[in-house]
């Protein structure tokens, strides 16, 4: 239960951190450490070098501007959770963060770290996909933007190169006439969920003009439930429509059975979460 030895560096700029990563292919960035350090304690991961991003001031902070919430990668979960302007611009953020582990973990864990870690059951990657967010990354050849749909590839695998650092996360503000909901089900409070669903419904009168639904815990990465969205888009989101959306979501459930849930159970759970979140989102959209 003790980590293997590594070389530790704590640079003060992103450029120096990128250089430190580029100098050793076994090097990994250390953000809040709430996912990486447990895996190191178990020796499931044994990086040769840890590049601690904790001393890089430019990676911290939250700004709400031009319809977007910009979050520095090293901002702690709890800071974002408590940020009035960010939650006013998109109350889905607080609802999602409330489900992330426990307070002591959220005090240390970072927004960028959670997204770069890309646990397929984690809540923040699901939020990013559902809301159509983007991230900025910086590497030896400069910086680039990656849309959420192009970021997550597989379990704990993103399209970032080993030498790149995620520097900023941008979450769009909630569009007008839009209702939101996040709900997950876990065996114990704070555990990774068996499944979680994030739903955004934009109404025009009583008709759903746009639906964005994403789920975590049901496959190898956070997944847009396009067929469920199609079942709601252009319709009155009544009980029949919500049930159809839930049924349509089932095909996206590819997680194998594990000690906590069978395949059939998770499929039904996913459908139930789609139904419930679309009902809540509908109410919150003011209808």
């Amino acid at each position: 239960m003790k980590p293997a030895l590594f070389d530790y560096v704590a640079p003060e700029t992103v450029e120096a951190a990128v250089a430190a990563l580029a100098g050793d292919e076994t090097a990994r960035p250390l953000a809040g450490g709430q996912s990486l350090i447990p895996t190191m304690n178990f020796r499931l991961s044994t990086p040769g070098r840890l590049v601690d991003l904790g001393k890089i001031e430019s990676l911290r902070g939250i700004a709400v501007e031009n319809g977007s919430i910009r979050v520095g990668a090293m901002t702690r979960h709890r800071e974002l959770e408590a940020h009035g302007a960010a939650n006013a611009a998109n109350p889905l953020i607080g609802e999602v963060l409330d489900n992330v582990a426990h307070i002591a973990i959220r005090n240390r864990g970072t927004v960028g770290g959670s997204i770069a870690h890309a646990d397929s059951a984690a809540e923040l990657p699901c939020l990013l996909v559902a809301s159509g967010g983007t991230v900025s990354v910086q590497g030896p050849d400069g910086s680039r933007e990656i849309a959420a749909d192009d970021l997550f590839r597989f379990h704990m695998t993103t399209t970032l190169d080993q030498t790149e650092i995620l520097t900023e996360v941008r979450i769009p503000a909630l569009p007008p006439a839009t209702g939101y909901a996040f709900e997950e089900f876990a065996r114990r409070r704070g555990d990774f969920a068996l499944a979680g669903v994030c739903t955004l419904l934009t109404l025009e009168g009583s008709v759903c003009r746009e639906a964005r639904i994403a789920a975590c815990g049901i496959g190898a990465r956070p997944i847009r439930l396009a067929a469920a969205e199609d079942a709601l888009r252009g319709r009155v989101v009544d009980e029949d429509a919500r049930s159809e959306a839930g049924e349509a979501a089932k095909e996206y459930m590819t997680a194998p059975a594990d000690t906590q849930a069978s395949v059939a159970y998770r499929r039904d759970l996913l459908a139930a979460l789609v139904r419930r979140t679309s009902e809540t989102a509908l109410k919150r959209a003011g209808r």
């Binding site: 239960m1 003790k2 980590p3 293997a4 030895l5 590594f6 070389d7 530790y8 704590a10 250390l30 450490g33 709430q34 350090i37 447990p38 304690n41 178990f42 840890l50 601690d52 904790g54 709890r78 582990a101 426990h102 307070i103 002591a104 973990i105 005090n107 240390r108 409070r189 704070g190």
Partner: protein
């Protein structure tokens, strides 16, 4: 200044490289050397001799090793000592008065029989203190207290008395403040 309660430095027995770590713990600033891979929990217990911080699961689930890091509750098993360089740490040893007078939260834990074996207790107390620091007017409903304490596991009490103790502790603190 009061006499240091920290253990004297001991010569290293491992061949790991050592880096200096300076931090303030329970009001005392100290510099020690540690291997980069030394967890903050081990640094607190082994290097500083403050064994009130307990180590249960060592992967962030049980909450026994919870301390406050720069005023906020955190798992000391999910931080390296080197990351805490420059930080202000508070452990259970820094909670009671110097004359041994219990903090109202500790007093309430005792009065409400909120502990049996006591292994998890320091973590619970540190979580409560951090929460009260962040939220001076806490929601005292069962739901809110249980949510706040959900990151700390107790295998003896069944939690009911711990929830009561938090409520009682807040009452005692308010009484002291009046």
């Amino acid at each position: 200044m009061a006499k240091s309660v920290l253990k004297k430095p001991i010569p290293p027995t491992s061949s790991d490289p050592r880096v200096p770590v300076t931090l303030t713990i329970n009001g005392e600033t100290v510099t020690r050397e540690a291997s980069p891979r030394m967890l903050l929990s081990d640094f607190i217990r082994h290097e500083l001799g403050l064994t009130g911080t307990h180590v249960g699961c060592e992967h962030g689930v049980c909450g026994c090793c919870t301390v406050t890091i720069d005023g906020r509750a955190g798992r000391s098993c999910l931080a390296f000592a080197v990351q805490a360089d420059g930080a202000v740490i508070r452990t259970i040893e820094g909670v009671a008065g110097e004359d041994g007078t219990l903090h109202p939260i500790q007093q309430a834990m005792m009065e409400c029989h909120a502990l049996q074996c006591g292994y998890c207790t320091p973590g619970f107390v540190m979580s409560m203190l951090s929460y009260l620091d962040e939220t001076p007017q806490p929601d005292l409903s069962d739901k809110a207290i249980r949510e706040m304490l959900s990151g700390n596991l107790c295998r003896c009490t069944g939690y009911s008395n711990i929830v009561k103790a938090f409520r009682r502790g807040v009452e005692l603190m308010n009484a002291t403040a009046d």
